[in-house]
Subunit: 287 residues, 2 copies
């Protein structure tokens, strides 16, 4: 079984039983959690944990935890009071299928479930590492991380942002969870302090590269492959890396960031092939 199948099998097992009055809530959580996606964040947790000599079963709750947080953020982002998007990954958005109230609550419940599965997986032996990994994810997904980045995004929705603002926003909004995933994998796997720092650098670089690629794809991609309409940034007069720097400079920047990310893997003595391939794959994706 490949890594993504293992992650998806674990995700579905962590969902509560539908045999309850609030069945619709669980269905709504499952609808978004099992909607596919690249599963980049959980793969990063497992890859870094493995690289540091960690055990797959101990890392899996943290891999699934970060994916649940990512999923809840997408559900809330699509709500009418936020980006008001009717489609996500080529399917109807959660609130279109289940209603705004259930979608809001499904997001809230996915955030709680993430913290539940991570914390309840702890044993007396790895509890201290677990608390550190949970604290990292909670920080990167909160007010000074992902949610903060979303607020910056909303603040600059109808005004021009400069490159520094864009960088801070994406460092929080997009790189936030990616950095969290890299750090968590290291912590659970028993990395040194220096390795955790290197994993954070790796996450920051591929996270920003990921966002620049998102901006490029919004201009050049095939809508069918992408699973969402293109041209939305230009239509909304939104500042993006492409609008501020141009396509060519953006492509160069992605290459630079990917090189930097791969260089930071020199701090690990294990087999870095998986992480190197992932960074290169993200830098050349067309969806």
């Amino acid at each position: 079984m490949n890594m993504i199948s293992k992650i998806e099998e674990a995700l579905i097992e962590y969902l509560p039983s539908k045999d309850c009055i609030e069945k619709k809530l669980i269905e709504s959580m499952e609808y978004s959690l099992m909607a596919g996606g690249k599963r980049i964040r959980p793969c990063l947790v497992l890859e870094f944990s493995h690289l540091c000599g960690g055990d797959l079963n101990q890392a899996m709750p943290f891999a699934c935890g970060v994916e649940m947080i990512h999923t809840y953020s997408l559900i809330h982002d699509d709500l009418p009071c936020m980006d008001d998007d009717d489609y996500r990954r080529g399917r109807k958005a959660n609130h279109i299928v289940y209603g705004e109230d259930t979608a809001l609550l499904a997001g809230d419940a996915l955030q709680a479930l993430a913290f539940e599965i991570m914390s309840s997986s702890a044993t007396e032996e790895n509890a201290y590492r677990a608390t550190k990994a949970v604290a990292v994810l909670a920080k990167y997904c909160g007010a000074v991380g992902m949610v903060g980045g979303q607020v910056i995004d909303l603040t600059y929705e109808d005004k021009t942002a400069n490159i520094d603002v864009l960088r801070e926003m994406d460092s929080k909004k997009t790189s936030g969870l990616i950095k969290a995933a890299c750090e968590m994998g290291c912590i659970i796997g028993g990395a040194t302090h220096r390795q955790v720092q290197a994993a954070r650098d790796f996450g920051e670089s591929i996270g920003i590269a990921f966002q620049i690629m998102d901006d490029i794809l919004d201009v050049v991609a095939d809508e069918k492959k992408l699973g969402k309409p293109t041209g939305s940034d230009a239509g909304n007069n939104k500042s993006t890396y492409v609008s501020l720097l141009g396509l060519e400079k953006c492509k160069l920047l992605i290459d630079e960031l990917t090189d930097k990310a791969i260089k930071s893997l020199e701090n690990f003595s294990g087999d870095i092939t998986g992480l190197k391939d992932l960074a290169l794959k993200l830098a050349s994706r067309d969806y």
Copy 2:
């Protein structure tokens, strides 16, 4: 300094600095977190931890964590797509002051902050207890707890619920966090398994009594004292303990539940005065 002042001092210290682009988010979190309230849940954490011989400073992040979860749930409950309430505790609801988007995100960030402060407070010595306490809160605030109860509430908004449904809803929606607070205090304080169970029974009983009292106050209270309009349940044709059982039976039930709660404290050898007083005070409150 009394217990509530200590809790409020700690709450404000845990909030991130406002010296950032996303200042409005932090202000919105603070607006609701520092809006007063009875601080029942954090008091329960501290009381149970103290009863089990725990240290105040170790228990405080868990006390503040449960209050942050409670606060986020109130912000989300008031949103237009949920209960659509413009007022909370005699002040404008969060989304009326900061807008729906920021209110939604402030709720999300408060949930994350709760898990961050609890997990990052762990030391190598108490990490296993911390993971267990975090797992308890995450479970009781998620799909099979508070959020699940909210879904049942929405499901029965426009149809008659029987007493069993009402009981299940309140056991999750209202008692959920109250039970979590009691259990967490015990776990952090180093209680036995039997004591944790007794604390859960205490929480379940005072939680249901609390909800019945809420239903009574919606019929009989002074609006000014209560800080919100009365008569809303009857106006919405909502099934409540009062509509299903009548006022007199409800008052008897509160007394029974309070007696049961106090009886469960017999499992503890320490000074139970604080918890006994709290149960009695909740049973006779007029706001």
